[in-house]
């Protein structure tokens, strides 16, 4: 199936490069804050020694879903947020990542997977800490450890600024990748789609009937799951879509075929005016702040659109980050010293109680030009802003996650974080639906 996206923004991509092993990484983190609605139960204390694969924390609502340490080392820090919500667990270590290419053919691997029952596969992924790689929409949350999805998407396309080509990310792992797709397709009631760009290889013939490729072509939102769902399977209440990133699929396949995990991840390091862009093999959750060649620059975990500055205490990559974007250090804008005093210092002008944002939003055409979903953007965004969730659901907010609205936050000049509005809407809807 071929789908052409006409509107959006073309961003530069990272030039293809061989993956190279990064010098040793001194700390990794497993993050809980990137999973919406996760209430974590800590299983370790600061100072504990842990081995690779040991459970660090689990989900309170779904105790079978565990989050494991990708390295052997010592628990250095446990970051808590407001109301003692777990943000991340940092493990100090000294390792370099390694990931051997799989020598077996896809057919053999798929046969191996076919010999396993669905419950065996589920158990294997839950125990090895791979289950959190599966996310569910509506809600953009962790997939529940029981049950299955109506439709399953393997996300093998990335159109974000300076994104890496998934074909390069999967180099040498094709056989385990297709095995992972075959295993995942057991959890889909209706269809499994491998969403990819035109250059991505077709699924091997043995996968016919299990998974098919959906080709997306065009500018930026073409690579986002919300766009894929909107075109392939628009969601309504009572329908569930699961989606998994392609590198996680390869890891899931490797876990089933070899019985072990590599905990390695290819991450591309690039950015505007950054000459030595390259692809690195890093352990999951590696510290992105001290990578070689980025001294004096500002690294961003993830893309420019939906990522976050790699500043302490959040300098580690998340599970779903495929790239580190490197920006030049920005000087503070003129007048900042007047408006934003240093923390703990009085303002230099006598500021009264001023609410920071006035909440204006213009219906300007630039927003429509970046929007690739079937419904017009401004009514949807305004429904989210004003809390008109019935209208928002009708307009398809169940398909969406925060990253889908990042481009709207950029295109709308109104300083709104539409991702945050969407999260509020999804939380409210899930609370209402749970009752």
């Amino acid at each position: 199936m071929q789908i052409r996206i006409r509107r959006g923004l073309f961003f530069p991509a990272t030039p293809p490069a061989e993956a190279e092993t990064a010098p040793s990484i001194t700390s990794v983190a497993v993050r809980a804050d990137e999973h919406a609605g996760l209430h974590a139960r800590l299983e370790v204390h600061a100072g504990d020694l842990v081995h690779a694969g040991q459970t660090l924390f689990s989900s309170r609502n779904d105790p079978d879903v565990v989050f494991v340490s990708p390295v052997a080392g010592q628990v250095h820090d446990i970051h808590m947020g407001s109301r003692r919500k777990l943000l991340s667990v940092v493990v100090e270590t000294n390792i370099t990542a390694a990931c051997e290419a799989s020598a077996r053919s896809p057919g053999d691997n798929i046969d191996t997977v076919a010999g396993l029952s669905r419950e065996q596969i589920r158990r294997r992924w839950l125990e090895s800490g791979l289950w959190p790689a599966i996310r569910q929409r509506p809600g953009d949350t962790l997939a529940p450890s029981a049950g299955e999805a109506d439709v399953l998407l393997v996300s093998a396309i990335d159109t974000q600024p300076w994104a890496a080509d998934p074909v390069a990310l999967l180099e040498g792992q094709w056989s385990v990748f297709w095995a992972g797709v075959a295993a995942l397709s057991r959890f889909a009631r209706h269809a499994t789609w491998v969403c990819a760009a035109p250059g991505f290889p077709q699924p091997p013939a043995v996968l016919a009937g299990m998974a098919q490729k959906a080709e997306f072509q065009g500018p930026h939102p073409a690579g986002l799951v919300g766009t894929h769902l909107g075109h392939l399977a628009p969601l309504s209440f009572g329908r569930r879509a699961w989606y998994v990133d392609c590198q996680d699929v390869a890891e899931m396949g490797r876990c089933l075929v070899n019985g072990e995990r590599s905990y390695a991840r290819r991450v591309c390091l690039s950015g505007p005016d950054f000459e030595s862009s390259r692809m690195l093999l890093l352990p999951e959750g590696a510290d992105a702040s001290g990578l070689p060649g980025t001294e004096g620059l500002q690294p961003i975990c993830g893309s420019l659109l939906a990522g976050r500055p790699a500043n302490p205490p959040f300098e580690h990559l998340g599970r779903f980050h495929r790239q580190v974007t490197v920006l030049p250090q920005q000087p503070a804008p003129f007048g900042t010293w007047l408006r934003n005093p240093a923390p703990g210092r009085p303002a230099r002008v006598p500021l009264g109680p001023v609410r920071p944002l006035a909440g204006g939003m213009l219906a300007h055409d630039g927003l429509d030009r970046t929007w690739a979903l079937g419904v017009p953007p401004t009514p949807l965004l305004r429904a989210l802003m004003t809390g008109d969730y019935d209208r928002a659901v009708e307009m398809g907010c169940l398909d969406l996650g925060e990253e889908d609205l990042a481009i709207a936050s950029l295109a709308c000049a109104g300083e709104h974080d539409y991702g945050a509005y969407l999260r509020e809407a999804l939380d409210a809807l899930s609370r209402e639906h749970a009752r």
């Binding site: 407001s82 002008v349 500021l351 109680p353 001023v354 213009l362 017009p376 936050s409």
Partner: protein
């Protein structure tokens, strides 16, 4: 008093540039580029597009006051002093509202005053200017809550107020020193088209140079502030209406006016680019934008030809069209929802 003063200062220095916030426990979302530059950038660009119209406006003011004696009565002096007063009124009104609401001053406070001054007839009196602009800002902008929430452009309301309350300011047949027609509607028959388009003297029949408005419109469309649909729709509506009327209407010099004369006369070019397509009050859907443009074009021709007491008709046409825009929006949104529901039901 001290508190009021502090509140006013705070309204202007309220934190515009937020540091990248990470609230503990929240999920990270678009924080890097996604923290966009603020509505101010959009308004600065609209104001910049308005600068293209300035030479024509200044030429008109200079010509208008050329016969008047007195040291401080030149057109330049008069225009810029009135501009300063208009901006001062904006600052005053906006500060009072912002301080009262404990908000920072809304972005784009200077745009209505700037657009208003670009096209206001030079005959306007000082108090007329003050009243019209203050009312336009109050009713058009601040009552509804500011950027993106208003129904019609505040500059449009200010001009309409002036037009209704002080029609003499718009009266082109009056005894002013210079017979510049401006908001007076259609020119006499036999006028050449090129001078009308450029707005050169001798045949001044538009409020500002239509050629400059075309340039400004192209700039605003290019940077994504204004929708090309509204502009195209407006021209299309104008062409359609004038063609239909010249075909079925009673014969006469007015009804046989071709569309290209309609397009370059009166306030049509300015009104379409700066008042109808204004992103502050623009419709939310692409279809709604088409409707707004089409209605503006059609109504302009209808009012011009059918009502001799409104020789220009653009302001009223935009007002009426803008009031229908939310209805059109709702219709197009429901259509999009229907299509989406069909797609939802299409897969098993």
């Amino acid at each position: 008093m001290k508190r009021l003063w502090n509140q006013c200062i705070a309204a202007w220095s309220g934190s515009r540039s937020l540091p990248l916030p990470y609230r503990h426990g929240d999920r990270p979302t678009a924080l890097c580029l996604g923290q966009s530059s603020g509505l101010g950038t959009v308004y600065y660009r609209i104001a910049l597009a308005g600068v293209l119209l300035l030479p024509h406006t200044l030429a008109n003011w200079v010509e208008h006051f050329s016969g008047v004696d007195g040291a401080l009565s030149g057109g330049h002096f008069r225009f810029f002093s009135m501009l300063i007063v208009a901006l001062f009124i904006s600052v005053l009104v906006e500060t009072v509202f912002a301080a009262g609401r404990r908000l920072r001053v809304l972005d784009g406070w200077f745009v209505p005053a700037w657009l208003f001054m670009l096209v206001v007839p030079a005959d306007v009196g000082w108090m007329q200017l003050v009243f019209a602009l203050a009312l336009g800002l109050l009713v058009g902008r601040l009552l509804f809550g500011g950027p993106g929430k208003q129904i019609v452009s505040p500059a449009l309301l200010a001009l309409l107020f002036l037009y209704t309350a002080y029609p003499s300011a718009f009266d082109s047949s009056g005894s002013g020193p210079s017979p510049w027609v401006k908001w007076g509607g259609l020119p006499d028959g036999g006028t050449a088209w090129w001078p009308l388009l450029i707005g050169s003297d001798g045949a001044l029949s538009a409020v500002s140079s239509p050629a400059a408005c075309v340039l400004a419109g192209a700039f605003l469309v290019l940077i994504g502030v204004v929708s090309w649909r509204t502009l195209t729709g407006g021209l299309l509506g104008l062409v359609l209406a004038s063609a239909v009327i010249s075909w079925v209407g009673p014969p006469g010099p007015l009804t046989s006016t071709p569309w290209y004369i309609h397009a370059v006369s009166g306030g049509f070019a300015f009104g379409l680019v700066f008042l109808a397509a204004d992103p502050d009050s623009a419709p939310l859907t692409p279809g709604g934008r088409w409707m707004l443009g089409l209605l503006t074009g059609v109504l302009t021709v209808l009012i011009r030809l059918a009502d001799p007491s409104h020789p220009d008709g653009v302001l009223h046409a935009i007002l009426l069209a803008a009031l229908f825009a939310p209805l059109a929006d709702e219709w197009f949104v429901r259509r999009a929802l229907r299509l989406r529901r069909l797609r939802e039901e299409a897969w098993p």
